[in-house]
């Protein structure tokens, strides 16, 4: 768990503080996304956790211990760090890049190499093919995977990620998002994630912290940020089609109608699909309702435009 309490930071050459009296809790095992326009202090906030930036005021604790109790290097070796530029070491192979933090932590060689292969596998890169490559031989997406593998190498409980999937094409980014979610669902790291992309925040975050001018404007679940933006600023930041974004957050099972409604329509979606996928199918087919199947293929209900509207009418808890 990361706990940021009343933290402020002003840079020497700027009148306004970069971060002003900010408090935020990142619960253990959750992904908290810091989002906001450029200069809102989100990166500064993240960089104060591993002491790349020292706050002027306030305290930051990790698992109850003040980060200032540790030497910065010792602290950072136990916090995974991935950035947009990736910053792989160009003179080292992929394997050397991934093994760098375990090396700093004085793991023995055999353990480092086993761990390196394991991680390449985890981020979806064939270890045999990739371990000996140099960074310049990688595509943008591959480099970012290696960057994530490097951040995870020493199995840190905490991850700081500053737009780690920023510099790739939308298709690759989507794929990296899906894989990140898959990895996170098994590893359950405590993640502080910085982005300015609301779609990314909605897709990856358990909670979203919207920042503006160094302060916290709203801190809530993605669905609540979309449904009840705290003010005009958040509303405009999440965008006019925020209702459509909400669709991808809710599973079809939350808008289930009777099985009978889908009678005569041969088409179904799986119960794990989102409302967004269901609505897309409905629009494609021009159907009024489509069936919903569970994992065994049994019809468990139906989804229609009406049930979706009904779901959106219900207040969120």
């Amino acid at each position: 768990m990361i706990s940021i309490r009343s933290v402020s930071k002003a840079y020497a050459r700027s009148k306004k503080p970069a971060v002003a009296d900010l408090s935020i809790e990142v619960p253990a095992g959750e992904v908290v996304v810091l989002i906001g326009p450029s200069g809102c202090g989100k990166s500064t906030t993240m960089r104060m956790v591993n002491r790349l930036v020292e706050p002027d005021e306030g305290t930051i604790t990790v698992d109850g211990r003040d980060v200032r109790e540790f030497r910065p290097e010792a602290l950072r070796r136990h916090i995974g760090y991935a950035i947009q530029g990736v910053g792989l070491f160009p003179h080292w192979t992929v394997a050397q890049n991934v093994g760098v933090v375990p090396g700093l932590l004085r793991w023995d060689r055999a353990r480092i190499s086993t761990r390196t292969l394991e991680l390449l596998e985890l981020v979806g890169l064939d270890p045999i093919r990739y371990q000996g490559k140099y960074p310049h031989e990688l595509s943008g997406g591959e480099a970012q995977r290696v960057g994530v593998a490097r951040a995870l190498a020493a199995d840190p409980p905490l991850l700081l990620m500053d737009e780690p999937f920023g510099a790739v094409d939308p298709l690759t980014r989507d794929m990296l998002h899906d894989e990140f979610r898959k990895i996170q669902s098994t590893l359950k790291k405590t993640v502080l994630f910085v982005t300015h992309d609301m779609d990314e925040a909605v897709k990856l975050g358990d909670r979203i912290a919207v920042m503006r001018e160094g302060g916290l404007v709203q801190y809530d679940t993605p669905e609540r940020v979309l449904a009840y933006p705290a003010d005009e600023f958040v509303a405009s930041f999440v965008g006019a089609e925020r209702a459509l974004k909400r669709l991808s957050l809710a599973p079809v099972t939350e808008a289930l109608g009777p099985v009978a409604a889908a009678e005569g329509c041969a088409c179904t979606v799986r119960s794990t699909a989102s409302l967004r996928e269901a609505l897309a199918r409905i629009l494609e087919l021009g159907a009024t309702a489509i069936g919903v199947q569970d994992e065994h293929g049994t019809l468990v209900g139906s989804v229609s435009v009406e049930t979706i509207v009904e779901r959106f009418r219900r207040p969120l808890t």
Binding site: N50, R76, G85, F89, P90, R150
Partner: protein
């Protein structure tokens, strides 16, 4: 394979150079044939190989100092603690470079006396700039993302310097060392003015006594040594560049 060739060829060149330098009769015969009417053919006091020894002493000691000082200063002014000194240091060393070497030697003699010592000091000062300049530019060219991630994953500043910054800057730094050493080989001939010996001794002796063969002896030896050093350091530079570009 190519790495070996880059290093092996210059080493062979060095061997050939030393072998030729030690063949005093060959020098006498060749220069005698070129200047059949001259009575003074070779520098009288020291053999060609002896001159090589004197010259190498001047070059190796002064270059070692230039490299050490240039590297140390370059590293210092690219650290946060030394950043304030960066402009001062480069300005001073640029100004130092604008003094003609002859003037530096003439000024060094009354200050430091005659002999090897003042020559080494003057040469060392003169050779700092290329090393310093390239060290600074090599280190500042390392990408900000690479530095950020090195720090962010928990490298200490010294680990970052040793394992990331210096290896990535190495080809540029070696290019600076190469320039410094080559210039040094040539400039060291002026050491003879201060009585430090070396290839300048036959050059000046020949000029004073109107004996072109003797001047040519010194000039040939100096040119040969400059070529050998150029090849050696060029080989190292190419090897490092190849390694970095194979990887950058």
């Amino acid at each position: 394979m190519r790495t070996i060739r880059h290093i092996l060829a210059p080493v062979i060149a060095l061997g050939v150079y030393l072998a030729l330098a030690s063949a005093t009769p060959l020098w006498r015969a060749t220069l005698g044939a070129l200047f059949p009417n001259e009575t003074r053919i070779l520098y009288p006091d020291v053999t060609p190989l002896g001159l090589v020894g004197q010259h190498l002493e001047l070059v190796l000691i002064s270059s070692a100092i230039s490299i050490t000082v240039g590297l140390a200063l370059g590293i210092f002014v690219t650290r946060p603690a030394g950043a304030d000194f960066r402009d001062v240091v480069t300005d001073l060393s640029n100004i130092g470079q604008t003094f003609p070497p002859v003037a530096v030697f003439t000024l060094a003699v009354p200050l430091l006396g005659f002999g090897v010592q003042p020559t080494v000091v003057a040469l060392a000062l003169y050779g700092v700039l290329p090393v310093l300049r390239n060290t600074i530019s090599g280190l500042t060219d390392v990408s900000a993302d690479v530095l950020e991630s090195a720090t962010g994953i928990g490298m200490r500043p010294t680990e970052r310097l040793r394992r990331v910054e210096l290896p990535l800057a190495a080809p540029v730094i070696v290019a600076g060392i190469r320039i410094s050493v080559i210039v040094n080989v040539a400039t060291a001939t002026l050491g003879a003015i201060a009585g430090a010996g070396g290839f300048g001794a036959p050059i000046i002796n020949g000029l004073v006594n109107l004996a072109p063969a003797v001047t040519l002896e010194g000039a040939l030896l100096a040119a040969g040594l400059a070529l050998v050093f150029d090849a050696l350091l060029g080989g190292i530079e190419r090897t490092l560049t190849m390694q970095r570009d194979a990887t950058a």
